[in-house]
């Protein structure tokens, strides 16, 4: 176990080194660190009471966020159907599904907010870059899920229908689709919920939706208004979570 003891020591030294390096090279002086607590308390104090006059902006921003999530999810579904087939072990050869799976893993590795910033740079401000970013980002996960749904289909009933003389389209409708449909529905709803949640903050980088107002109000020192919008976002996240739990119970 000598080598293992050395490995443990090396790992400990590495972690200690990383922490020391971060402290030494980040300009955090002690007085600023100690005053951070009171400053945060002061900042939060200025957010009270939340300003209820921004109700219009909240409704408008939420509606736009919802539209971004819906259209972004639609885009992701449209991209994920062909890519899911191309990433399936049972539908295409390894020469095809391996690179497609690598591509999907690569897409998943790029944070949504980064994609959104790039899209804002590419197509300008507004909901469009948000929709494109959501569609792109969500495809990395959804296409993988669709591929797994395809690969999870039991072959035996398909062979039985083929043996009975059913044409390929009939096999698809009566043996393949009934097995896939619940999985596809569950995964799509799950991804839509993530899209809705993630699109709440897209506005912060200018990609449309309710996040735009948080950024605007914080930058213009209207903290009471920023507080109202933030509370609305939190309420929506909780509501989405509640709906999600209810849906999952149905599919369990």
């Amino acid at each position: 176990m000598r080598s293992r003891g050395f490995g443990g020591f090396a790992a400990g030294a590495l972690v200690a080194g990383a922490v020391l390096w971060s402290f030494a090279t980040t300009d955090v002086d002690l007085s600023r660190l100690l005053s951070a607590g009171p400053r945060i308390a002061d900042f939060l104090g200025r957010m009270v009471p939340p300003d209820p006059t921004v109700m219009n902006e909240i409704v408008k921003g939420s509606a736009e966020t919802l539209r971004i999530a819906i259209l972004g999810s639609l885009g992701a579904v449209l991209l994920s159907v062909p890519l899911g087939i191309l990433a399936s072990e049972t539908m295409v050869s390894p020469a095809l599904y391996r690179p497609v799976r690598t591509l999907l893993a690569f897409i998943r590795a790029i944070p949504l907010i980064l994609v959104a910033m790039l899209m804002v740079g590419a197509v300008g401000l507004g909901p469009l870059p948000g929709i494109i970013a959501i569609a792109f980002h969500a495809t990395g996960m959804l296409a993988k899920f669709y591929a797994e749904a395809i690969d999870g289909v039991s072959r035996a009933p398909i062979a039985a229908l083929e043996s009975a003389g059913a044409a390929p389209l009939a096999q698809l409708r009566y043996a393949i689709w009934p097995q896939m449909a619940p999985v596809v529905a569950r995964d799509t709803i799950f991804r839509f919920e993530l899209n809705l949640r993630e699109s709440l903050i897209l506005g912060i980088v200018g990609a449309g939706g309710i996040g735009f107002y948080i950024q605007t109000y914080v930058r213009s020192f209207q903290y009471e208004k920023a507080a109202s919008v933030t509370l609305a976002v939190i309420a929506m996240v909780i509501a989405i979570e509640g709906i999600n739990v209810a849906l999952r119970r149905r599919f369990a």
Binding site: P157, S163, A164, G165, A166, A167, A170, R173, P178
Partner: protein, 260 residues
């Protein structure tokens, strides 16, 4: 006596396997009767049944089923397939669909491809499916989902689906090996009875000699991919049956020793 299937000098090696699964098999399956393929696991029974169902490529020999020769290189025409029904050991049902839908799936080969994929079943399809359900004693389960059924009920659904094809030859691969003895006898009574009522030929495989004796007119013994005997049920001797299940000979035993 006419033949439902005629097999001459048939050999087949599974891809990547060394020993042939079927080794120069010649056999005649008489029409209108019930024939049992009896033998231990690995005798080649499943391979022979799948081959007769037109699902294997690359075999050698002469095979004709219901008077039409099979092509070793190409799958049989879609039109010819409903005439041959197949009952799978593991049922091969669509678990999330209803019993009636699964039985109607047996009709898909009798419909035009367009109607099968997009249309709804014709009254005649429903009528045949309902009759098959009734014959299998599961008319009251029609609307139930298959994943809520027991093993015996599932095999009844699978047989009903096969009967809905209106097959002239029914191939059944170990149709009762997953069931307890009472259930197994019920299912074989049902299968052979329904086939006789329809004038269809049955060829079923089993590893249980007592079931083969009870439900077949003819018994074909298989071992190591070869036909060991082919006799009317009354002529089956206990010696021949015992010989079918004797300890495996030199070759695998040496292999086993080499492994351990």
């Amino acid at each position: 006596m006419s033949a439902a299937a005629q097999i001459g000098d048939l050999s087949f090696v599974h891809q990547g396997a060394g020993l042939p699964a079927l080794d120069h098999v010649s056999l005649m399956v008489p029409a209108g009767e019930s024939t049992a393929l009896l033998g231990p696991s690995g005798a080649g029974k499943t391979t022979l049944l799948a081959l007769l169902d037109g699902r294997l490529r690359g075999w050698r020999g002469r095979v004709s089923v219901l008077g039409a020769p099979l092509d070793p290189d190409h799958p049989p025409s879609r039109a010819s397939r409903p005439d041959i029904g197949f009952v799978f050991q593991e049922f091969a049902l669509v678990e999330r669909s209803s019993v009636l839908r699964n039985v109607l799936n047996g009709r898909l080969g009798r419909m035009s491809p367009l109607r099968a994929a997009l249309g709804s079943p014709l009254p005649r399809d429903l009528e045949v499916a309902r009759a098959a359900l009734a014959d299998c004693g599961i008319a009251d389960l029609a609307e139930r989902r298959v994943d809520s059924l027991s093993g015996g009920q599932r095999q009844r659904v699978a047989i009903a689906r096969c009967l809905a094809q209106e097959p002239r030859l029914i191939l059944a691969d170990e149709p009762v090996s997953n069931l307890d003895p009472a259930r197994a006898a019920e299912i074989l009574t049902l299968l052979t009875g329904a086939a006789r009522a329809r004038g269809a030929t049955v060829l079923f495989s089993s590893h249980q000699p007592d079931l083969a004796r009870r439900f077949a007119d003819r018994i074909v013994g298989m071992r190591d991919g070869r036909i060991a005997f082919d006799v009317a049920v009354g002529d089956l001797s206990d010696v021949a049956t015992a010989d079918l299940y004797r300890e495996t000979t030199a070759l695998p035993a040496i292999g086993l020793r080499a492994v351990t």
